[in-house]
């Protein structure tokens, strides 16, 4: 049977390298072609997983623990599918975007290719050391992309991002070293049966180190300091990639470790602590988003807040009845998917508005409602998901999380979710409201090419339609 797993990693590696050899600014067309291929590969993999459950692939034919295994289960397939689905429209968008911003194009395509290879490899890996390598590949590619624009602001942001991500992966690697010390293996498959509730304290320390490192990379409050300048300062397609996907990669790993590898040793106290940090992120991030004067900074702080929702999953799913945990788990993963699609659309729309008006402050987008209604419409649709209003994917996620919170009688998370939802409505409408204001006749306005607007709408619609087809995603997620 044809196995798409290695190809999902090889394809972006190959096109990125070829794009590099081809030279600065080149490789867009090749990327689009390969991305279409990757999307089909991910779809094939999803079908195989639904039909036959978890799939393993022994690289080099050795098999774990001597060799490295690739593994595709429901969660990793959902992430792979999400990644390819977001990147393909963004690639079209980027091709149109960089026509007007040619000076920051340079090596965008190869960097994006390696970024994608890193994510696909990360989602497929079942080896904690191999995952470390993919994390570094991911981090360096992301930093390179942030620095593309140049200038003091973005370079500073890139530097801070690099230091944060290095600190995070170092903590992770130390955890891996400790795990190897205790068990003599780095394979998830080999480690899982060995870790029991009575595991030595070293394992708890390793778990704490790995999770902390990944939380830093996911920009969970209060480790979010690096995110807004990095995501807000990068070119729009890059911001979209970073906010929609890159932080989700480290979050995916947290899920993997928490619910898979370390499931026997995680405690309810730790889960409540993660939830509290998530709540802090929701409130503080939303509050700061509301205070921003620049469009992309607002969207970036919105990411800080939305990351918080993801972490509510832990107190709702840890130590609760199977039914509640299931509902929270599904809600958390749906939130990952919904936020990914919506945030990609939102950053792309922000980039389009800034391109059209030539101004990056929120006050500068007056009149967008009449000049580029399609883009504004897409922004609003994405906003619906961010606010968690029906019938969007964000709503479906919120529904499940709220249900889990009610069923487990943890009403404090309900308050957080409700208040967070209202705050997010406040900052989304802060933008929409401005867009409806009349604009002075003298304001210059640049018409946008179609390929800049339609991919945004596609992403936003996808985040909305997710609310109606959530059951399909959940059936893939539950495939075992």
């Amino acid at each position: 049977m044809f196995d798409p797993m290695p190809w999902l990693i090889l394809s972006p590696l190959i096109w990125a390298t070829l794009a590099f050899v081809h030279g600065p600014g080149r490789g867009g067309r090749l990327a689009v072609a390969c991305l279409i291929l990757q999307l089909s590969l991910a779809a094939i993999l999803a079908q195989q997983v639904i039909a036959g459950g978890v799939r393993m692939y022994a690289v080099g034919g050795w098999g774990a623990p001597l060799g490295i295994d690739l593994m595709a289960d429901g969660l990793s397939t959902v992430m792979l599918l999400l990644t390819q689905t977001i990147v393909l429209p963004l690639a079209f968008y980027a091709r149109a975007y960089f026509v007007g911003h040619a000076n920051s194009l340079r090596y965008f395509w190869p960097l994006t290719g390696y970024l994608l290879a890193a994510m696909n490899a990360l989602f497929l890996s079942s080896d904690v050391f191999n995952i470390y390598v993919t994390l570094e590949l991911l981090g360096l590619a992301a930093v390179g992309l942030v620095a593309l624009v140049g200038g003091a602001g973005p370079i500073t942001a890139a530097m801070r991002y690099l230091l944060a991500t290095l600190l995070g992966s170092s903590a992770y690697l130390l955890g891996v070293a400790l795990l190897y010390g205790v068990y003599g293996s780095v394979s998830l498959v080999a480690l899982k049966p060995l870790i029991a509730a009575d595991a030595p304290a070293t394992v708890s320390l390793a778990a704490a180190l790995m999770l902390l490192g990944l939380m830093l990379k996911t920009a969970l409050f209060p480790f979010h300091f690096w995110l807004p300048p990095a995501h807000g300062g990068a070119p729009a397609p890059v911001s979209a990639l970073l906010s929609a996907l890159v932080i989700k990669a480290s979050f995916y790993l947290i899920l993997r470790l928490w619910f898979d590898l370390f499931a026997p040793i995680v405690s309810i106290t730790a889960a409540q602590l993660l939830g509290a940090l998530g709540a802090g992120a929701i409130l503080w991030g939303s509050f700061l988003a509301l205070r921003q004067t620049h469009l992309k900074m607002l969207v970036a702080y919105s990411t800080v807040a939305q990351v918080g929702y993801l972490f509510l999953l832990f107190p709702l799913a840890t130590g609760m009845s199977a039914e509640v945990a299931e509902s929270a788990w599904q809600g958390g993963v749906l939130q990952v998917v919904a936020h990914g699609l919506a945030k990609a659309a939102m950053f792309a729309a922000a980039g389009a508005m800034i391109t059209a008006t030539g101004r990056d402050e929120i006050s500068g987008i007056a009149g967008v409602a009449t000049r580029i209604p399609l883009t504004l419409f897409a922004f609003a649709l994405a906003g619906v998901t961010i606010m968690g209003l029906p019938p969007s994917g964000g709503f479906a996620a919120k529904w499940l999380l709220l249900g889990a919170a009610l069923a487990s009688e943890q009403w404090w998370w309900i308050v957080v979710m409700v208040v967070g939802g209202l705050l997010s409505a406040a900052y989304v409408f802060k933008v929409l409201r401005q867009a409806f204001l009349p604009v002075e006749e003298t304001a210059s306005f640049q018409l946008l090419p179609r390929m800049l607007e339609w991919p945004i709408l596609l992403l936003a619609l996808a985040s909305l339609v997710l609310g109606l087809v959530g059951i399909e995603v959940l059936s893939l997620l539950g495939a075992a």
């Binding site: 599904q330 209604p373 209003l389 019938p391 479906a396 009610l406 409700v418 409505a425 409201r433 109606l468």
Partner: protein, 503 residues
């Protein structure tokens, strides 16, 4: 999927698709846009007439769609839905006609009509929702699709009104959501069912059910403008007249109060609600709203603001009818859903005509408008008399049944409320009529935009809709006992909610 299942979807699509197409059209394509609007609207009416026939003959129109495990979107055309759906569709048709005339020459009309269609789609979705989840989906969609209409003019005042509107409705939506999720957690996925479905949870979950009821009513009360949740409504007056007309008569406030009807009758069940002692607080709240709205209306000089406060008061008749235990009050409340809609839209159309034709916005400017615009003023008079409750107009029927219901439930104080409210209604409407008909005009009109032509007081498109609804106000009163009247339909609904009662 057979035809009966697709029919509710088709009704939704007949207003959704025109809306989406209109968004895509350039702003200058007036003719095409109006055509699409009218085709969609007419098609929708035809489909609804077909469904009405079916429902009378016992057909069922139910559509299920699963979106998450244990979470279905359900559309169901039951008797209650088929009271609200034809009202929305018919008034949408008239309001669209009116809006085409009203907005002639103003900018961004594609945006306006696009959201207008979405707003009607949301209302019809609310009406046909077969469970609370579906109801909530369209309830929030209604919020989102009406916001651009409220801020349509883009003025600072409109923006502020929009912000207040959102704060109230989204806040209410959040409470409603928590209530619904909680209820789903307790009872699982429950469809709207005559007589309610929650009685099985008694007595174990009584206190939880009370809290949920409070959350649901608070969430719905925002849109239904129950005091003290009504603050957004007078501000939302800045919207163009057709929007106000639709917001007040059918869409937003009706969605809220319709939700209350659904929760009391088809979720909790009216008998179960009574046994939990939930109805009395609701009745008190509705009564306070009725009196408070009328009192505030007295002191407004702005015509649309006076009408807005009148809406706050009148919509609570429906809530009151629901909250009085007994079939007669149910008939009165449910039928007022239709009656208030027809009357209030007439009044708003007329207010819009005064503003658009003569630039008259305030009551103090209305001296002598009756002679300048006799037809419009006649329609306004019919609407106002209806509101006051003069027989044989629509409002009288509602109040009559509410009064009967109050007696039946042995709540004589309600009669006092009804009387006081009618007096107040008269007190704030009659001076307007007096000025319009009997005060002579001493100065020029503030801003005469549409001159008198061949004895026609204003544009055709502005005149026909209020006349049509005024005639309807008379007809539903005069022929209240005919088999096709809203009253008969309301009796049928009451008969299904009170299992022991024969009309």
């Amino acid at each position: 999927m057979n035809f009966n299942e697709t029919l509710p979807l088709l009704v939704l699509l007949s207003s959704l698709l025109p809306g989406l197409i209109i968004f895509a059209l350039p702003d200058e394509r007036h003719g095409l846009r109006s055509l699409i609007n009218m085709v969609g609207s007419t098609l929708q009416l035809l489909l609804i007439v077909y469904m009405l026939r079916g429902v009378m003959h016992g057909e069922e129109y139910i559509y299920h769609f699963t979106i998450l495990p244990g979470l279905d979107l359900v559309f169901k055309a039951d008797a209650l839905a088929m009271l609200f759906v034809p009202l929305s569709a018919a008034l949408w048709f008239l309001t669209t006609l009116y809006a085409i005339g009203y907005l002639e020459g103003s900018p961004h009309r594609n945006r306006f009509f696009g959201f207008f269609s979405l707003c009607v789609t949301a209302t019809i979705g609310v009406a046909m929702a077969g469970n609370l989840f579906t109801f909530f989906v369209f309830y929030e969609l209604l919020t989102l699709s009406t916001y651009p209409l409220v801020v349509h003019r883009g003025t600072e005042q409109a923006m502020r009104a929009g912000q207040v509107y959102l704060t109230y409705t989204l806040g209410g939506g959040a409470l409603l959501l928590v209530g619904i999720v909680w209820l789903y957690g307790l009872a699982g996925q429950v469809e709207f069912t005559h007589g309610g479905v929650l009685a099985v949870l008694w007595p174990e979950y009584t206190s939880q059910l009370r809290v949920i009821f409070f959350l649901l009513i608070a969430g719905l009360g925002v849109k239904a403008a129950l005091v003290p949740l009504h603050g957004w409504l007078p501000l939302a007056m800045v919207a163009p007249a057709p929007v106000s007309a639709l917001l007040h008569a059918v869409a937003v406030v009706k969605a809220g109060v319709f939700g209350i009807v659904r929760v009391v009758y088809d979720v909790y069940g009216v008998e179960f609600s009574q046994s939990l002692h939930l109805l009395m607080p609701l009745a008190v709240m509705a009564s306070v709203t009725i009196i408070w709205g009328s009192l505030r209306a007295l002191f407004q000089d702005d015509l649309k603001r006076r009408l807005a406060y009148s809406t706050i008061s009148q919509v609570s008749y429906i809530a009151l009818g629901v909250a009085i235990f007994g079939p007669m009050a149910t008939v009165g409340g449910v039928v007022h859903l239709v009656h208030q809609g027809i009357m209030k839209i007439t009044l708003f159309f007329c207010a819009g005509n005064y503003a658009e034709t003569l630039g008259v916005h305030k009551i103090s400017e209305m001296d002598g408008v009756g002679r300048r615009m006799p037809w419009t003023t006649a329609a306004f008079t019919v609407g106002a008399f209806g509101m006051i409750g003069l027989p044989p107009l629509a409002g009288f029927i509602s109040k009559w049944y509410l009064g009967l219901g109050a007696l039946e439930a042995q709540m004589p104080w309600v009669i006092a409320i009804l009387l006081a409210s009618s007096l107040l209604n008269a007190a704030y409407f009659l001076p307007v009529l007096y000025r319009a008909w009997f005060q002579p005009r001493t100065e020029a009109w503030p801003e005469e935009q549409i001159p008198m032509q061949n004895g026609r007081e204003t544009a055709w498109l502005l005149l026909v809709p209020p006349l049509a609804t005024a005639v309807a106000t008379m007809l539903v009163g005069l022929f209240a006992s005919s088999t096709l009247s809203p009253l008969t339909w309301a009796k049928m609904i009451a008969a299904r909610e009170y299992l022991y009662w024969m009309p």
